[in-house]
Amino acid sequence: MWYLKLIVRNAFRHQLRTGLTVLGIVVAILAFGLLRTVVDAWYAGAEAASATRLVTRNAISLIFALPLTYQGRIRQIEGVKSVSHANWFGGVYITEKNFFPQFAVQAQSYFALYPEFIISPDEMREFMHDRRGAIVGRRLASIYGFKPGDQVTLRGTIFPGNWEFVVRGVYDGAEARTDTSQFFFHWEYLNETMRKISPRRSNSVGVYVIGLTSAGHAAAVTAAIDATFKNSLAETLTETEQAFQLGFVSMTEAIVVAIEIVSYLVIFIIMAVMANTMAMTARERSAEYATLKALGFGPLPLAAMIFGESLAIAAVGGLAGIALTFPAAERFAAEVGSLFPVFNVDSGTVMMQAAAALLIGAVAACLPALRAAQVRIADGLRHAG
């Protein structure tokens, strides 16, 4: 208790210096937390993927569609529990800036495959009865103020024309990592319209989503689906939902790596700043350390006091940085709109922030503690006065 009192008083002895150091740590830990959250957000789709879902797409590229007729043949493969399909719509809501994912889905089978999308039975009923109905995620609804009954017009880019929808329900995520920034509508509405304006593009789907009877069947079913359509006009590429999502991440992997490097650099820089502060502090107090040694204190209590002081400063900065990460992440998520479907500060990030703060404190204290422990009393006393 006595030593703790000495550590705390020493830590806040030079209030301006300590205040600025704490501020630096707060900013570094906050930046580290936000950057880690951005990286997590990048992988959020893959993280939220289910092990019992597969995605089948055109083997050449995602931009090529698959025939609707594949659905029945996929359903017959052993290990397949259900099959649904979806088309990326890619419409513009008012301006290009308002980006959010829109999918034309075979509603009944699709939502059955995604139990993590929680929709009230009444809203689902309304949606199923309205060919132009749409279901929007809670996050999307809060960003654009969508509510049931609202008319939403999307300007098609892949599918030409203005498309009118009526919001019929808002889904919530079963978990924090569930993407609630999506916009779903009936594939039948898309297909019927395309049949009128561009018949060659009707009866085609972007991807099939396949529900498995068990995750253990994934490899066999994947191989079976792709074998079924081998040498056809539209060969397929089937992969787990997670692999499918990671495929998108890999396209931008360099950015993710750059963000990760910057996040660690921030910690390294503040570590150097903190080490300098502690070294300066220890140098100024060499007479005090020499006095304590003259009084009979050994090198270990002196080193412990310096470590304690450094860790106390790092802990204050770290805790404040962690506390500020949550409102800052909320603000960041609001600013970037639906660019990141899931932007949550998870417990892993908080643990990493805490570990980084402790590492900063411990590393910064190493050299000053060693010097204080080794200071020759007679030399240290010459610095007094």
Partner: protein, 229 residues
């Protein structure tokens, strides 16, 4: 007169030099002398004569190059760092020119500091500190930080800290060097009382003939060699 003729400090052929770059600068050249228990010795000499170095070695905070140094019955040249630290805590009280108090601790806490190395309980430590504060007439300054005390008061706190563990030897390096005349006289009187009434062996390093005049024995150091006044 010393209270006993038994030597508390026995120095034989003590040699000490410092390395300054490539040069070796001799500081003490084979000094031999004894200090009797309860004596009050003043070490005088010009700057660089080696008096502070000699004091530091007697107090166990510096080591000689050669020679023997027996203090309070222990050959302190044979002790390792940790044993020497424990020996200092038991046997030596330090009074420095610039007081060397911890600025973040109150007068009470500064005096209590050496007692943290003992087995005393917090209550017992408190009793000891209160008695030391009273002896130094500082009871009303107990909660004051060093920056809130005058130079004389700070030195009295430092003296209380030096005697709190009841060491046999007090070493004082220019204890009045940073004080005005009145405060210096008070401090010298206090040190004299500690020697006379409590039987502490006092070894004082000073430039001030007036301060040295309070000692029973005065030794002069010049160019690393000792002479008796």
């Amino acid at each position: 007169m010393p209270s006993s003729t038994e030597s508390i400090v026995e120095i034989r052929n003590l040699v000490k030099s410092y390395r300054r770059g490539d040069q070796i600068v001799p500081v003490l050249s084979g000094i031999t002398f004894d200090i009797a228990a309860g004596d009050y010795v003043a070490l005088m000499g010009p700057s660089g004569s080696g008096k502070s170095t000699l004091l530091n070695m007697i107090a166990g905070i510096d080591k000689p190059d050669s020679g023997s140094l027996r203090v309070a019955g222990t050959d302190i040249t044979a002790l390792n760092e940790s044993d020497l630290a424990a020996w200092r805590a038991r046997n030596v009280g330090f009074i420095f020119q610039f007081y060397n108090l911890m600025p973040v601790l109150t007068a009470f806490e500064n005096i209590e500091l050496p007692l943290l190395l003992t087995d005393l309980s917090a209550r017992e430590r408190g009793e000891h500190v209160a008695a030391a504060l009273a002896m130094m007439s500082l009871s009303d300054r107990s909660d004051h930080y060093p920056s809130e005390l005058s130079g004389g008061q700070q030195q009295r706190v430092a003296i209380a800290r030096a005697i709190i563990t009841d060491p046999a030897i007090l070493v004082a390096d220019e204890p009045t060097g940073d004080l005005d005349r009145v405060s210096a006289a008070e401090i010298l009187h206090l040190i004299e009382r500690l020697n006379r009434e409590l039987g502490k062996t006092v070894i004082l390093v000073t430039h001030d003939p007036h301060a040295a005049g309070k000692a029973r024995t005065v030794r002069h150091l010049e160019k690393g060699e000792l002479s008796e006044a």
